[in-house]
């Protein structure tokens, strides 16, 4: 252990001394950048890049950004950034401040398009040596994209030093790309093809098919063609999985939006066209909770979504109870009238929110634990979507338990199945009606919290989900929660699998036509209720 430490220290000292020595060498090179016009600058740039010292990176970056200047007084090359009327000067290598200068006292070192390419190649090569692993990684990716033959030496040097397995792989792939583009011996080419086949993404595929079609040697061509086939297969597999994931993701959004409707429409038989507005109210509650936390407890902002859940449930549920008591209870047994009245309510709620919060979108930011993404094989999964899938299933499970295992759920089912009998058994049916409607609306509010993370929070939020929700419930079968689950996931996946072939809009149209035709075959949905409940 101690020995290892000593080695490390020795290595550090060695690196420090060499880089100091190199920095001394770099100074004249940097100085020559300021003279000789474009060609002079380019020559110096190439020499800087060949020197392979990361210390030159800020210089080249400044050149790229157009911040590299020559001080007229003494011809010194400096980095100048605009401060007020003049410019603040710094030394390009050490970063030491060199005072200020007027705009007339310095000359910008000009860059042309040919040089821009050389600049990014040089940056790529130099950053490969950076001590920061993330920088090395992105540098390797940059070389993979540019396939600049000049970077080959730098890549080899970097590869020899690289310890991190993943960065090593990225560098090897970049090297393979460079070798394939530049052309090399058969053995090298085949090794490169194998490396790229291992990468197996779309970029690799593009490169490989280029080789397969190019004038390379026959062995290289066949190897590339075989690699193209395997990569294509792999891509198809991951593509299908990705589609499945998108389908699941869309399905869970549909499930969230429809599950409240499965209670109000499915269990109670009330056509609630204002269901989408309950979702919208939930989303606006999230917005208010977040605003409140930002003002009064900034430390808790990351938890705002969690705190918004009970709030949205209560607000939307409360509005639902009020609607049931004031309007819907007069319309039981008249579904078409209910439809019209709740449509009217949805217009009123939309306009009320528009008057209160304005017609524009409101910003609801995602908490830190919901942003970002991770990779699983060839899949890219964002945390936000993952949480929504989890949340949708959690809500579904909770609702199922509530309906099957609680006293309240028992009363709901009793009232649904036989109202007079339930009444005779001492269940206060009117109260159960109000609470059931409140439950459905509250769940819609929960959906609103989730949707506020992926959709625009605007007065029209609910409108975009209402038709989809009805389709899900009708497709799955009214009065059956499992039908809603299956319906949502099936429609979500169908939509996403159609999208690559038909495009988003046409895919949606096809799904709608499919539902219309499906209803003809099974007018009561996928999982129709059987027995007496059908005619009730």
């Amino acid at each position: 252990m101690r020995r290892a430490l000593r080695w490390l220290m020795a290595a550090c000292v060695a690196i420090a001394t060499t880089s100091a020595a190199l920095a001394a060498d770099l100074r004249p090179l940097v100085q020559t950048m300021g003279s000789g016009g474009y060609s002079g600058t380019e020559k110096a740039l190439n020499q800087l890049s060949d020197a392979g010292d990361p210390a030159a990176v800020p210089v080249i970056e400044a050149l790229q950004a157009g911040d590299l200047y020559v001080r007229k007084a003494d011809g010194l090359v400096v980095i100048a950034r605009k401060v007020g009327a003049g410019y603040a000067l710094t030394d390009p290598l050490s970063g030491a401040a060199l005072g200020e200068a007027a705009a007339g006292a310095i000359d910008r070192i000009k860059v042309n398009n040919a040089m821009r390419r050389a600049i990014s190649a040089a940056l790529g090569a130099l950053t490969l040596m950076s001590p920061d692993p993330a920088v090395r990684r992105s540098a390797a990716d940059a070389v993979f994209k540019s396939r600049d033959a000049n970077a080959l030496d730098a890549l080899n040097t970097a590869l020899a030093k690289e310890k991190d397995e993943r960065i090593r792989r990225a560098m090897e792939q970049a090297r393979a790309a460079v070798i394939l583009t530049a052309g090399a011996s058969d053995a090298d080419t085949q090794a490169a093809v194998a490396t790229l086949a291992g990468r197996g993404d779309r970029d690799a595929l593009a490169l490989l098919s280029m080789i397969a079609a190019s004038g390379a040697s026959d062995t290289a061509k066949t190897a590339a063609a075989a690699a193209v086939a395997t990569v294509e297969q792999k891509l198809m597999f991951w593509g299908a999985l990705q589609n499945l994931w998108y389908g699941l993701s869309l399905g869970s959004v549909l499930l969230l939006a429809a599950i409240g409707l499965a209670v109000t429409f499915g269990v109670m038989g009330v056509i609630n066209m204002a269901h989408g507005e309950m979702v919208m109210i939930g989303a606006y509650t999230t917005f208010l909770v977040q605003q409140g936390l930002r003002t009064y407890a900034p430390g808790l902002t990351d938890l705002s979504v969690l705190l918004a859940l009970p709030a949205a449930f209560l607000v939307s549920g409360g509005v639902g109870v009020i609607i049931e008591r004031s309007v819907i209870r007069w319309l039981y047994g008249r579904p078409l009238e209910t439809l019209l009245a709740t449509w009217g309510l949805s217009l009123v709620l939309q306009q009320a929110v528009r008057s209160l919060f304005g017609p524009t979108n409101r910003e609801v930011s995602a908490p830190s634990w919901m942003s970002g993404a991770f990779e699983l094989g060839g899949l890219t999964i964002t945390y936000g979507r993952l949480w929504i899938v989890v949340f949708a299933f959690a809500v579904f499970a909770a609702l199922l338990v509530a309906l099957k295992r609680t006293w309240f759920g028992l009363s709901i089912r009793a009232v649904t199945q036989n109202r007079p009998m339930a009444n005779a058994m001492g269940i206060r049916t009117a109260r159960v009606d109000a609470l059931t409607f409140g439950l459905g609306s509250g769940i819609a509010g929960l959906a609103g919290v989730a949707l506020s993370q992926i959709d625009n929070v605007s007065p029209n939020l609910g409108q975009s989900y209402i038709i989809d929700s009805f389709m899900v419930v009708v497709f799955g079968g009214v009065g059956n929660l499992w039908g809603t689950l299956v319906g949502a996931l099936a429609l979500g996946s169908l939509n996403k699998f159609l999208e690559p072939y038909a495009g988003a809009v046409l895919g949606k149209i096809l799904v709608l036509i499919f539902i219309i035709l499906f209803i003809q075959r099974r007018p009561r949905g996928l999982f129709a209720l059987k027995g007496r409940a059908v005619e009730a």
């Binding site: 019209l340 449509w343 009123v348 038709i467 809009v505 709608l512 539902i515 209803i519 007018p523």
Partner: protein, 387 residues
């Protein structure tokens, strides 16, 4: 035979409706074209177009009332038939522009030139003839309604389910017409019309002519509808509305009756759309929006479901309110419309005409509402089978 059919539908209410329409047909042209502009009796050409628009909506409401009020089919997709008729007329008007478009292409409409299309898609062929467009105005909505109804009624999709899939139908069409590659102008729709049948579409004379055509279409549709209602066919339709299964057990093929009324209603809606487009000068996919279908339902509900005359009254009143409030108090309009939905369903299940009948029935010497209320729906029994 035909005369008898039309005369059968002529009761006192029908006489009133036709008299009012005839008065409009005489007074409005005179007040617009003959009365000088300074006079307080002058009607501006803008008002004529506005009135024409209301009457197109009234025709749509009449079509809807025929299926909802008398057959019990609540369509949330009638705007689709309206818009299809409108698009058929719009295509004719587009072709009439000819080389006067921005790009000056004698055959292709501007948006096709813009999209770099080389030739006219096959479904645009023939639309340079008015007679062809006029047939299509009836055929396209009619065929769609026939196909849709054929499947839906035979599978016995009823009540709320039918309402929801009619909504899905119009939503699917909305999405489809938004697509640029459908060849119907995408988002912008069809507009910039120049002339109809060789007459300048902006000229006051043409506008009055279109207004008269609308009145004629409305009057004819009203006579057809009330003729049907008064006939034996109409009795069967009302019976289907009230208890479909009983009518079926009595040996009637209820699907055919429903299909007939449904298709006829779609054709009327198509005509309404076709007359609407030249008067407002544009047709775009937003006409397909499910919201506009539902709005048409409320016109019928306000006026009185199952009264025909009520549908016309409701459409004109609600749209007049809309024009007024969206100008005067734009924030207020959606509250008013939403409130109207709630209040009418809760307190006026038979609409304004029903209210009138109730009020006159309270007067001791009135003849009683029976003559009028005969055909009014018995809301409860009609709808209970929905679930």
């Amino acid at each position: 035979m035909l005369t008898r059919f039309f005369l059968m539908g002529l009761d006192r209410k029908a006489g009133l409706v036709l008299t009012v329409l005839a008065l409009l047909a005489v007074l409005v042209p005179v007040m617009t074209l003959i009365v000088p502009e300074g006079s307080p009796w002058h009607v501006s050409i803008f008002t004529v177009s506005l009135l024409g628009k209301y009457l197109c909506f009234a025709l749509l409401a009449l079509a809807l009332d025929l299926v909802w009020g008398y057959v019990g089919i609540l369509s949330l997709g009638h705007a689709a038939f309206f818009a299809l008729g409108g698009y058929a007329m719009g295509m004719y008007l587009m072709r009439q522009i000819g080389p006067r478009g921005v790009y000056g292409n004698p055959i292709l409409p501007d948006f096709m030139v813009f999209l770099n299309w080389k030739e006219l898609p096959w479904y645009w062929l023939g639309f340079d003839h008015f007679w062809f467009a006029a047939i299509m105005v009836l055929v396209v909505p009619g065929a769609l309604a026939f196909a849709f109804g054929w499947f839906a009624f035979r599978s016995r999709v009823t009540g709320v389910y039918l309402s929801i899939i009619t909504q899905a139908l119009t939503f699917a069409l909305l999405l489809a017409f938004f697509r640029n590659d459908m060849g119907f102008g995408g988002n912008n729709g069809l507009t910039d019309f120049k002339e109809i049948l060789g007459y300048d579409i902006q000229a006051p004379g043409t506008r009055v002519g279109l207004f008269l055509a609308t009145i004629a279409a409305l009057a004819l549709s009203y006579m057809i509808a009330s003729g049907i209602i008064a006939s034996k066919l109409g009795k069967v339709l009302v019976a289907v509305r009230d208890t479909e299964s009983r009518v079926r057990f009595l040996g009637y093929n209820t699907e055919s009756y429903k299909l007939f009324a449904w298709t006829l209603s779609a054709c009327m809606a198509g005509v309404a759309g076709a007359l609407y487009v030249p008067q407002v000068g544009i047709i775009n996919p937003s006409e397909f929006a499910p919201a506009s279908s539902i709005e048409a339902v409320i016109w019928v509900a306000v006026g009185g479901r199952g009264t025909l005359a009520g549908a016309i009254l409701g459409a004109v009143l609600v749209n007049f309110g809309k024009s007024y409030f969206t100008g005067a108090l734009p924030e207020f309009w959606l509250f008013a419309l939403g409130g109207l939905f709630v209040l009418v369903t809760l307190f006026l299940p038979k609409g304004l005409l029903g209210l009138w009948a109730q009020l006159t029935a309270r007067l001791p010497n009135a003849k009683g509402p029976n003559a009028k209320g005969k055909n009014a729906p018995n809301g409860n029994t009609a709808d209970q089978k929905g679930m």
